[in-house]
Structure formats: C-alpha cells, structure tokens
Amino acid sequence: MSTTDTTKGESKETTSGKELVSIFVMGKKYEVPKNLTIMKSMEYAGYKYIRGCGCRGGICGACGTVYRKPGDYHIYVGLACQTVVEDGMYLTQLPFFPANRAAYSLEAIGSEPEEVYKKYPELFRCVACNACSKVCPMDISVMDYIAAIKQGDFEKATELSFDCIQCGLCTVRCMGEMSQYHIAQMVRRITGSKITPQASHLKAMVDKIKTGKYTKAIKDLKGMNEDQLRKVYQQREMEPTEAPDDWKPADVTYL
C-alpha cells in the first residue's frame, strides 16, 4: 500500500543492467542484473524489506549478510547494501542475532579496566581464533580490540573499534560466546569521558554563555530587519581555511 510511483529514484538504477546473474536467496534461485548490490537485487527479485535494511549506505549495520560461492568452502560476509552480487552466490541475511549487553552507569564507574571485566567476564574466554576479524564487514581487527581491552589499553581499543557499525556479525561467530561490539561500546564511552582530556575551552564557553555575555548582542541581531542583517552578515570576517587553530580575528567586539 504505497503512495509512490515505483519507478522513482533508486529503483531506476536497478533496471539499467541487462546482463543477468543467478543468485540464491535462502536457497531459492533468482535471476538479477549483474552489478547490483545484494540489497537492490533482492528488491529487483520482488522482496520488500522490513528488517535488514536501514541506511542503505553502509553505516547502520542493519543488513549483515553471509554467503557462499559455488565450489568454495569459505564463508563470506558483507553488507547487503554495499556488496555486489556474484553469479552463483548463496546468501542469507542476518539482521538480528541475540547479544548479551550489560547495563552500567557511566557516571558511577571509573576508568579502570576492572569496570569492564566485572560486567563482561566472558572477555577472558577469547581463544584468539580470529573468526570475528575475518567476518567483520568493516575490516576491523576485532580480536585485536578485544586483546587491547583485556590488556586494559582502552585508548587503543577505542581506536581499533572506532569504525564498528554494530552489525553483530562478530558475535555470530564468536567461540568465546561474547558480544564484542557491546563491550567495545562501553570501552569507547569510558575513553571519551574519562581518559581523553576534556576540552577546557568548551566548558569555558558554556560558562560564559551562562553569564549572559552574548544575550544582548544576539537580541540586537534579532531586532534587525533583513537588509540590516545582510549588511552585518556580509561584513563578517572570515577565518582563512589554512589558518592555525589559534587564529584570532581583528574584531573582538562580539567574542
């Protein structure tokens, strides 16, 4: 029950390829144009997504897909919205996989590694099989960030896990039965709030605003008509692109 014309926008591109390949969606064969992503090819085949489709841009982690190729024992993975179909591909989507997540209060805890170990003792069940890294569609070294967490190096774990889109595929494969991405999330938040130095200029600005320092200046702007405002706008001093961070404007009246 849709209100749109179905040939709009996205789907237009799905009609462009003439050359067909065969894919097997959960074992059932469909002929779809070569060069389409798995997501668009399934729509071409007539599927309408409810689950397994979010951003359509490779960043939300909704569309994790596993597949095999003919005559090849390897398990392949990809994001359906990013992976191009191949002839003979056998695929299924895994849009949801149960994962253990521990609740915690970021305010109440410190930055010690033990805070995380207490919540996720299964961390130490890692057998270093590296199945998680192999399966990660974002090419993250999952095993390495888990190792960094075990070593208590949260900054390193934050850096290594930063591109995680929480698709859950690593959890599907984990021999240690842990939910790596939830653990990494907790670690990143500890890093961001308790390890990385806080921005002193940020706090200073918030305090300055609270004193009402800019209230009058902004009120004056609000009182201007369009022409007056345009004038002030056009006269504003531009910070040069290549200027260093400590660049200072000539006019400091409104700082």
């Binding site: 209100t3 409810i50 979010g54 951003c55 990013q82 938040r189 921005a199 609000k222």
Partner: protein, 556 residues
C-alpha cells in the same frame, strides 16, 4: 567497479591542473565568493525554483501552501486505518512520554524526559538508531572557541545560510545552547576528534565564518547515535523501545489534547494503542519521497510520516517549499549512487572541477548555491563529466587533500569513504570522485516553538521533522546540533507537561474522520494512503505478477 578507461583519460585532465590549484590553496587564494546578486541568479538552477514541481495543498491547517507534488501526495491521502474499527476504550501501553522516532532527536529527548522522572516509550519504525542521524559524517557546529568565535557569529551564519528567513527565536536557542549540547555529549563519552591536550578539532563548513565544525573522524553521526543509544539502553527500566512499530496516527482526547498514538507492528500487521500524557514527534526527514526524481542520501525510513500525521491533527507546516540537495552525492560507481560525500572534503581543501579540470565555484558556498552551480555547469554549460550510466557529474578532487596535508590524510580523516571506494577498486587519495547533487534534507517541517511546543497541546517536536530553524536552507553541521539542542528541550518540556497533566480525558480519532471529510469536500478522490512508512522499490516486472485480488488471513 574501478573507473573505466574513458574516465581515466578524463582524470588526466584533472591531474594536469592540480599542481597549480594546490599551490593556490597553499597561498590562501580562493575563487571569489558569489555576491548576493550572483547568488540570486544562480539559484534559478536550483530544483526548488521549478514551478511545475509543486502545487497547492487543498486541505488542512496550511491550505494554499505550494510545495512539492510528492509531499502534497502524502498529505492529501487517507489514513491507513478506518477510525471506526479502532477500539480506544483500552490502551495496550500507557506511559508519561511517548517519543515517536528513534533517531538522534528522539533518543536525546527520551534521555532528558527520563531524567525528569518520566516513564518513556520510544516507538520507532526500523531498529533503534537506523536513522538519518547515523548517516551524518561531516560534523556538528557549535561556537566553542572563545578566542575566535561566539554564538553571535554562529547566529549570523545560520541566518545567512537560511537566506535570512529563519525564525529568530529558534536560531537564538540553537546557537546559545550549542556548546552545552557538545559538553553533554562529551560527558556521555562521545569521542570527538581532539588535539592531545583535549582541544576539540574544528573545521569550516559551507557558509561558516569561523571553523566550528566538530567531528568524530568521518562518522560523527554514528558516534553520537551509538553513544546516546547506549545510554538509553542503560536506562531500559524507564525507557522502553518498541522497534518496527511506526506511529500511523496521533490520538487526541475530546478537549483536543494529544494523548497518545496508534502504532503499527509491521511484522504482525497489528495496531496497538499507546496512551501518553505527552508525545514527542521526532520522525526525521523525507528523502525517500524522491522529490523531482532525485536520488537521495537518506535512510530507508525517511518518508515524512511525522509531518503527515501531525498535519492531520492540526499542526501547520512551514519552509517545506525548499528542499536541500546536497551538492556532492556519488554518481559513479552506480552501486553507491546517491550516497553522500561529506562537505568536509571541501573543507579540507578539495576543489570542484569540471571536465576541463577548471574550477567554477568556491567550494565553501552554502549548499543550495553549490548545488545550483553544479547543475548549471552540467546542464547549461555542458561542462559535466559523462558517467558510463549516461548521467553527468563533476569531479571532487580529493587527492588535493593529501597534497596539502600530507600523504595518508585522506585515508586517516575519511576512513569510511576510503573503504567504500576501495571496495570498488578506486583509491580516492589518488583519484577524484565523480559527484552530482542528491536529495538530502527537508529544511522545513512542522511548525513549533523554541520550547518544542506545537499548536497541538501535548505534542512536542524535535529534529528534522520540524521547520523554521534553518530557514530556507540548512548549513552543514547545524542539524546534528538541532537534534541534540531541541531533542533535549522537547524531552524536558514534555516530561514537565506530563507531570502537570492529571486528566487524560476520552481518547478519540475524530480528527482523522474530519480530515477524511475535508479531503472529500475539497474534491480529492484518491486511494493514496499515508503515512507511507516504507518506500516502494518493487519494479514493474514484479508488480505485473502481483495479482492477488482478495487476501485471506492477514491483509496487506
């Protein structure tokens, strides 16, 4: 797929002019910005100025307003349910605050409402966090550097970007609350990119006079969204999340106060009644309406639902006559079509160049002008670069960034896009990207005040679904800001409102009946149904075979 030979040949032209352009950048020599006169002229090429692209809406609180056909289509449509069949004498869920939409605005609203002591339900269409918020890459604006910037300058930039049409009170609140929103995120453990001493890194965005774009590598939206989602999960005793259950109507009471919503479980196709003392609309944007057939950067669920259902309940709309086309969406490779290439590439020094390798616009103009300039260069001047798909594009010269800031900068600062292109066999630190404008942001939306309140008592608005903050054009980095600032305000005020409300009255869907009647009286006979919920990408060859005339069991 890597660039085919024809494009590789054309890339050589770009390479030829690159050294000179890099040298100019280093000397801070820029293509002059457009004067206000020139701005006016170039905007003729913007899709918003195509009169045949819009029509007057014939019913509802903003009757007579001319907006895009696609938007009018969903507004002049019937409800998904027959109000007579809905039994409102009982509620399936009861709560203090119901948040509709689990993106950044909805989630921050839920957190603040909970902090006021409210029990909260978030009802969302896809998974919690599958939203436009997750897709934001470039950054978030706030004047946090007191030695060179202040809310005063931020205010000017927002107004200038919005063509001075923005609602001043909304802009005031946006820029004044901005630093506090960033501080709030920092406290929650959001990892913004920083210098060693904790100073936040900032860049320019289109239309900014000071570098105030904060970012978390090139996945700022992901980092913000997953942080606040994690926090909401920590509070799951008070914040309940119901996924794959979009709202399809608001529910009012006999006094005309918003008192809940009707949810649709897309998997079982059942409808559920939520009774709530206050409701926050945070359903985001509408890129999936594919206005004027443009490709879009938006997530799968961006179908204007919140606008449709609040409009039916009496909330007016504004600024919807303008739509934001992001100047740089991928045209090639085809699999990535529509995907956004963040402005940060331009902020970091990449030029836009035509088929002759020549610059034709300063890369730091506001978005609408930038988009119009690209369309003009391709459509009128014929200087577009032909893609193998038959479409045209313009080069975004990303290798300049490595030339300016050192080898490896592109890979380090733009890991997401670097990987995306690498999968297609393209190294964007060595080869430029082919881009064209893509449908990106709603600009306008539901009318609301800087308290989050709307004309409908009990209904609050936050995020992209609202209109007025950004006037006729939003600057990059101001909507991630908008969702945090106004999400928090709506959350707090909705919780306060819920606290003060004792009597729920009698639930009704009479406003839906009235709306149906108004459609009829306006002579609109249609079988269109809205909210749309999900875009329809089923192709004609499939549709032709979908012949079911009569459903047994569940109805679709």
């Amino acid at each position: 797929m890597p660039y085919p030979q024809e494009l590789k040949e054309l890339i050589k032209v770009v390479e030829k002019t690159r050294p000179e352009r890099v040298a100019k950048k280093k000397k801070n020599e820029e293509v002059p910005f457009l004067s206000l006169e020139e701005r006016k002229k170039i905007l003729d090429y913007h899709p918003d100025f195509k009169e045949e692209g819009r029509r007057e809406i014939k019913v509802g609180p903003s009757k007579g307003y001319r907006i895009a056909h696609e938007m009018v289509d969903v507004l002049e449509a019937n409800s998904r349910v027959n109000p007579d069949l809905v039994d409102l004498s009982h509620a399936d869920y009861e709560t203090d605050v119901l948040v509709i939409g689990g993106g950044g605005a909805g989630t921050s609203a839920a957190l603040l409402a909970q902090e006021q002591g409210a029990k909260v339900i978030i009802a969302t269409k896809l998974r919690h966090g599958d939203a436009n918020t997750m897709m934001a890459e470039g950054g978030i604006q706030a004047a946090t550097k007191g030695w060179k910037d202040s809310p005063y300058y931020h205010y000017l930039d927002v107004m200038g970007g919005g063509h001075f049409k923005n609602i001043p009170d909304l802009v005031d609140t946006l820029v004044t609350e901005a630093p506090d929103a960033i501080l709030w995120m920092e406290k929650h453990g959001c990892n913004f990119s920083k210098f060693q001493d904790g100073t936040l890194k900032t860049l320019h965005g289109g239309g900014t006079c000071r570098k105030r774009m904060h970012f978390a590598a090139d996945i700022t939206g992901v980092e913000i969204m997953r942080t606040i989602r994690d926090e909401a999960r920590n509070r799951s005793q008070d914040i309940r999340v119901i996924e794959f259950s979009p709202a399809v109507e608001l529910i009012l009471n006999e006094k005309g106060e918003c008192s809940g919503a009707l949810l649709y479980n897309m998997e079982t196709e059942e409808y559920f009644i939520v009774k709530a003392k206050a409701v926050i609309m945070a359903t985001g944007g509408s890129g999936r309406l594919h206005i004027q057939n443009f490709m879009t950067t938006n997530h799968y669920g961006a179908t204007a639902d919140g606008i449709v259902i609040a409009y039916r309940a009496g909330v007016g709309i504004s600024f919807l006559h303008t739509v934001q086309y992001h100047p740089t969406g991928v045209v090639f490779p085809e699999q990535a079509e529509g995907i956004l290439i963040t402005e940060k590439f331009r902020g970091s020094g990449a030029n836009l160049v035509n088929i002759d390798g020549q610059q034709f616009v300063n890369e730091r103009e506001p978005r609408d002008l930038e988009a119009a300039a690209i369309i003009k260069e391709c459509v009128e001047k014929g200087k577009g670069v032909p893609a193998p798909t038959g479409k045209f594009g313009i080069w975004l010269d990303s290798p300049m960034i490595d030339a300016l800031s050192g080898t490896g900068t592109v890979e380090k600062e733009f890991p997401g896009k670097f990987i995306l292109y690498k999968r297609f066999g393209i190294d964007i630190s060595k080869e430029p990207m082919l881009i064209y404008p893509t449908l990106h942001y709603q600009n306008g939306g539901l009318e609301f005040k800087n308290t989050g309140e709307t004309a409908l008592p009990g209904l609050f608005v936050a995020g992209e679904v609202g209109g007025g903050i950004h006037g006729e054009n939003r600057l990059m980095g101001n909507s991630l800001l908008d969702i945090l600032v106004f999400g928090r305000i709506a959350g707090k005020n909705a919780a306060d409102y819920a606290k003060s409300r004792s009597d729920m009255g009698k639930l009704t869907l009479d406003h839906v009946r009235t709306y149906h009647k108004n459609l009829e009286e306006a002579g609109i006979e249609t079988d269109r149904v809205a909210p749309m919920l999900l875009p329809d990408y089923t192709l004609p060859h499939v549709k032709e075979r979908q012949l079911t005339a009569c459903y047994v069991g569940t109805l679709r």
